[in-house]
């Protein structure tokens, strides 16, 4: 990589923009959340480094969910492009970040052996993809808009349409998994998983906007979804005396 790396610490995570571990409206969190406070570390090499991914880890169709599992035709559903930029908190582009996505099909059914929802599998849709951000932090993939999905929380709960996102960043402390929602979906404000976040500004950052300028006429619509990872701050001074190594 051409970039010159210096060991530098990450800006401390602001937990006000994240859901708490214990969020009883989302019932599974009750028994899966620690009761003790997290112990805060000052970063060492273990946190400011992380796995590096390259083009050789991927295949060319990995970011095309319309084609990457097509067997005897195209998948059924709304054809869309999802694209955007990954930046750090200082606005710097996050280059070469691995973006992995997964989702249900147009009817809200996941291709997973544990999903028993009665909506059918689409034989031409797998539901996962991955891509590396470029020099500007930009990524894009093409897919079918996922359908809403019922789940056992309260008996009448439905997930809004969503795409799961996983980002590697440059360091293990930037590792993030989140979900992208679609502008205008009335299920967003009812969802117990969305509502684990007690901050409307933070919720808004998870809602992709319809982006007609990026749509391909007579082919597919587009949504814009930007993401922010924690920033690495510059190390300007070190506690080192004159002459010390």
């Amino acid at each position: 990589m051409s970039q010159i790396w210096k060991p530098s610490e990450l800006v401390h995570r602001d937990y006000d923009s994240h859901p708490p571990a214990y969020a009883p409206g989302y019932k599974t969190s009750v028994l899966r959340s620690p009761r003790n406070a997290l112990i805060s570390l000052q970063n060492s090499l273990s946190e400011i480094t992380g796995p590096i991914f390259g083009a050789k880890d991927l295949d060319p169709l990995d970011n095309d969910l319309i084609m990457n599992y097509a067997k005897d035709g195209l998948p059924i559903g709304e054809r869309i492009i999802v694209h955007g930029y990954v930046r750090d908190g200082f606005g710097r582009p996050m280059k070469n970040t691995l973006v992995e996505v997964w989702q249900a099909n147009a009817g809200g059914r996941y291709r997973h052996k544990k999903d028993k929802y009665l909506a059918p599998i689409d034989p031409n849709f797998g539901g996962c993809g991955r891509v590396l951000t470029d020099e500007n932090g930009y990524y894009f993939f093409r897919t079918i808009k996922p359908g809403p999905y019922p789940w056992r929380n309260q008996a009448s709960d439905w997930r809004p349409s969503h795409i799961h996102f996983s980002l590697s960043g440059e360091s293990f402390a930037q590792r993030l998994i989140t979900q992208m929602y679609f502008e205008g979906d009335p299920l967003i404000k009812q969802c117990p998983i969305v509502k684990t976040i007690n901050n409307d500004d933070a919720i808004r950052t998870l809602i992709a906007e319809l982006d007609t300028h990026a749509a391909v006429p007579l082919d597919c619509l587009a949504y814009r979804f930007d993401l922010v990872l924690r920033g690495h701050r510059a190390t300007l001074f070190e506690n080192r005396t004159q002459g010390a190594v």
């Binding site: 090499l45 480094t49 999903d115 996962c128 996983s166 360091s171 993030l176 919720i203």
Partner: protein, 206 residues
């Protein structure tokens, strides 16, 4: 904070995390190249070890839909990353230092096939005992949990480790020690994680 963008909010990975991060575990083949729980190839330097365990919820039930990632230094104690400038330690081109493992849907057991890492220099030049950095996501976990596994046969190094010594409740330090045993001629470290309750594992805000 002036001109600082808020980090994108975390959300749970959900029960079908395997579709995106380990599609073969979800039950289908889609990518030609897959990430896995095996960190080594035949050229990787270092002592081969297996690290395995289960993750338990607050009722003592194994979490059977959990996904873990490991990040670790090579046998010489150097990370395969440009920010690691410990130039007196050799890089191992055959070791990325990262892997991903899904628990078995029936038993809840997860596993990594890796090498035992060397010691890494920590803050202020203090040596950290050999350790694995682990990141845990699952349904019901709203933000990924960070922890470390240390090695039971490194007692002296563990006693002076700067991170273990940050934990003021000495009784909790033991939750981070993987227990070494032999299984045939394989070296196995068992590391069970307790999300909640009496034996709750220490989790870090990194």
């Amino acid at each position: 904070m002036k001109d600082y963008l808020a980090e994108t909010a975390s959300q749970t990975a959900g029960p079908y995390v395997h579709i995106g991060l380990a599609p073969q575990a979800a039950g289908f083949n889609i990518f030609e190249k897959n990430f896995s729980h095996v960190l080594t190839n035949s050229h990787t330097q270092g002592e081969r070890i297996i690290v395995e365990g289960r993750v338990f919820d607050g009722s003592g039930t194994p979490v059977r839909d959990v996904l873990l990632e490991v990040w670790q230094a090579n046998a010489a104690g150097r990370y395969n990353h440009p920010a690691d400038q410990q130039s007196h330690k050799e890089l191992d081109e055959d070791f990325r230092g990262w892997g991903r493992s899904c628990s078995d849907f029936d038993s809840g057991v997860w596993r990594f096939d890796t090498i035992k890492p060397g010691a890494v220099t920590g803050r202020d030049g203090r040596t950290m005992a050999p350790h694995l950095n682990l990141w845990i996501v699952a349904r019901g976990i709203n933000i990924g949990l960070n922890t470390r596994m240390y090695f039971s046969d490194e007692q002296t190094a563990n006693e002076s480790d700067p991170v273990l010594n940050l934990i003021e409740w000495e009784v909790r330090r033991n939750t981070l020690i993987g227990k070494r045993s032999m299984r045939g001629d394989e070296v196995v470290y068992t590391f069970d994680v307790y999300l909640q309750g009496e034996r709750e594992t220490v989790f870090f805000d990194v």
